[in-house]
């Protein structure tokens, strides 16, 4: 590295310093504190007096079937909701990308679910899902699809899917918007050249469009996964603490706040953090390797 490059690197660090400090204060410190608490028997009513218990909390955590159930629920929810959101979001983006009349209004309209606060939409869906006076059962029974009302949020076979459906409804617009932005950046000449060569539209999509918008989709996927892994509010409102839909965050909060067991709850939060970090790192590494290979080809 030459002296100029060294000087520029040093200057860059100076510019980064303020944001790094803020990050350390608002993200790093609470995180360290949580990890620290996870090794103690701290109690929320009195956070001054606690003793060090080593890995006890983690051992207890690993022996709790409800915890593993909530890990499983969270992973299922993440895979199902993110996959559906990517497919639907991309479809909507492709439709919006075609020059249709009223496109501007359409773009604004798809954003509405995203703009409604989750608590409000969760309550709204809770009414619609109600087994005896909800609108879904009314409609489905009206057209004769079902004979008996379905208990959407109470039936353990359906309740997690009911949560996935609300999340898909709410966050598909986010994916659609990111995909649309990426689609608009694809150079028109590529499509023209493909058309001149007589390439089939499906092949155009898979050979030109998809590889070029892949980085944006990857970003959308990572954001959505980070969000989905710490899902809390929707589940809390829709199904409360039922074990068949409990997520890791709901589990951690229950122990932290309801049971005031800061040590054990922090252990659950720490595990959640480690899992999120691991999954994000894996996805980013795989995605980068994949992208580099595409570029080399």
């Amino acid at each position: 590295m030459g002296p100029l490059a060294r000087r520029r690197a040093r200057a860059a660090w100076w510019f980064l310093l303020p944001s790094l400090t803020v990050l350390l204060l608002i993200a790093g410190w609470p995180l360290l504190r949580t990890i620290g608490f996870s090794l103690t028997d701290a109690y929320l009513g009195d956070l001054e007096n606690y003793s060090f218990v080593g890995l006890d909390n983690f051992i207890l955590l690993s022996q709790d079937p409800f915890w593993w159930q909530s890990v499983q629920n969270t992973l299922f929810f993440t895979v199902a909701s993110v996959a559906l959101e990517l497919v639907l979001g991309l479809t909507i983006a492709l439709i919006l990308n075609v020059a249709l009349p009223g496109r501007g209004v359409m773009r604004a309209a798809v954003l509405i679910p995203w703009a409604i606060p989750t608590i409000v939409s969760a309550r709204m869906w809770q009414w619609m899902y109600n087994d005896l006076y909800g609108v879904f059962n009314q409609m489905l029974m009206g057209v004769g699809v079902i004979a008996e009302p379905i208990a959407w949020t109470a039936d353990p076979a359906l309740s997690l899917w009911a949560v996935v459906a609300v999340d898909v409804w709410k966050t598909t617009p986010f994916v659609a918007l990111l995909a649309l932005a990426a689609l608009q950046l694809v150079p028109r000449e590529l499509y023209e050249a493909a058309r001149v060569d007589g390439v089939h539209p499906v092949k155009i999509f898979f050979r030109i469009t998809l590889p070029l918008i892949m980085p944006a989709l990857l970003v959308a996927m990572v954001f959505r996964m980070l969000d989905a892994l710490r899902i809390f509010d929707l589940i809390y409102i829709l199904t409360s603490g039922s074990p068949s839909t409990m997520s890791m965050s709901v589990y951690a909060r229950r122990h932290l706040v309801e049971f005031q067991d800061v040590g054990y709850g922090s252990a659950a939060s720490t595990f959640l953090f480690a899992l999120v970090a691991l999954i994000t790192a894996t996805v980013l590494t795989l995605g980068r390797a994949h992208l580099t290979r595409e570029v080399r080809q």
Binding site: L44, G45, D46, L60, P65, F66, N130, D131, L132, Y133, P149, A151, T153, A154, D155, P156, T239, S240, G241, S242, P243, S244, R254, V257, E258, F259, Q260, D261
Partner: protein
Amino acid sequence: MRLNNILRLGLLLLCLSPATLVRAATVSISCGAVGIELEVCRDGAEAWAEKTGNEIRIISTPNSTTDRLALYQQLLAAGSADIDVFQIDVVWPGILHEHFIDLKPHIEPERLRAQFENIIDANIVDGHLVALPWFVDAGLLYYRKDLLDKHGFGVPETWEALTHTAATIQKTERAGGNRDLWGFVWQGRAYEGLTCNALEWVHSSGGGNIVDDRGEVIINNPAAVEAIDQAAAWIGTITPLGVLNYEEEQARGVFQSGRALFMRNWPYAWTLVNGGDSPVRGKVGIAALPRGEDGVHTGTLGGWQLAVSRYSGVRQEAIDLVRHLSSRREQKRRALEAGYNPTWPELYDDPEVRAAHPIAPTLRKVLAGAVARPSDVTGRSYNQVSNAFWSAVHATLAGKGDAAGNLALLERRLERIRRHRGW
């Protein structure tokens, strides 16, 4: 003599001009909002405000008792002064006591002696009076008189009779065109309410309690297994599957719109199902909950108390408000206007209360046999114990394993909580 007169004059003057001497304070009180609870609370608190020249801020709280406790725990753990007077559940003194002041020095001993002894006891932790009782609850069976008469059934004495009656009437009514009718609705969501419901099934069938008075875990016994398996068999037959997500108000919604024959609920629902706009007005009766074959009638003891926050900036006014709201006179008003059940036994014999509140004698009997949740003996671990219990019951109701397996798991779980948290 002269001195005495001057003193009296002085006192009189003091009384005449309270506003100039006492600065008006704003006292915040958290009230429940189930049914018409909030309005009745507001009326009582505002009457006090008018009388004393202070101001009142009413804070409404979540309907689910579990959510309400979590909210209180967050506020109190942060030492927040946002709420001065807390409406707390009868099972919370052991969990929250360190955040409330001792009311004993502010209450006359005879006033305490005149109220239900077991409820006063529930509010005493380590010799401190944590809260003053406000109203008392117990689980009751609501039934549709008209439907029972029409089909020639009596009020069921046992759970088995209830199951049979509900199944028969539901079948006949549905065949006759009343397609939405269900037999029995209750509170089956995974929350504190399910602990109350399930404890009633267990206790009334001779299965005892979750934890006994000495702290031993006794829930894993044949009578309890049978009682919970029986409830699981109701799901989908006489009880809609949706009950697994019902709280009090959802159950009342179904019953009050005429779509259920029986309902388990607290006394508050009585006034509402007989309200002016209720489709089942005048068609409803109440009774003690059924019992098991060799069991006794019971109901889970509930009820709400008023406590003053340690972090309150207007402590004296807050104490005065609690004294006013929990007084015999105010409790009588609440009984007459909204059917809230007083914590003063003598009020159950009051002619006015009896006239306005015909269920008072039944309730008094149920209260005498009510079963208390084990909050006393498990102390600050109570909500963890209750959570483990309702989770095991909810899993059984949802068809994930049978009661025998789930109660065995529960027993191990409770022993583990006991070892690690202690009680």
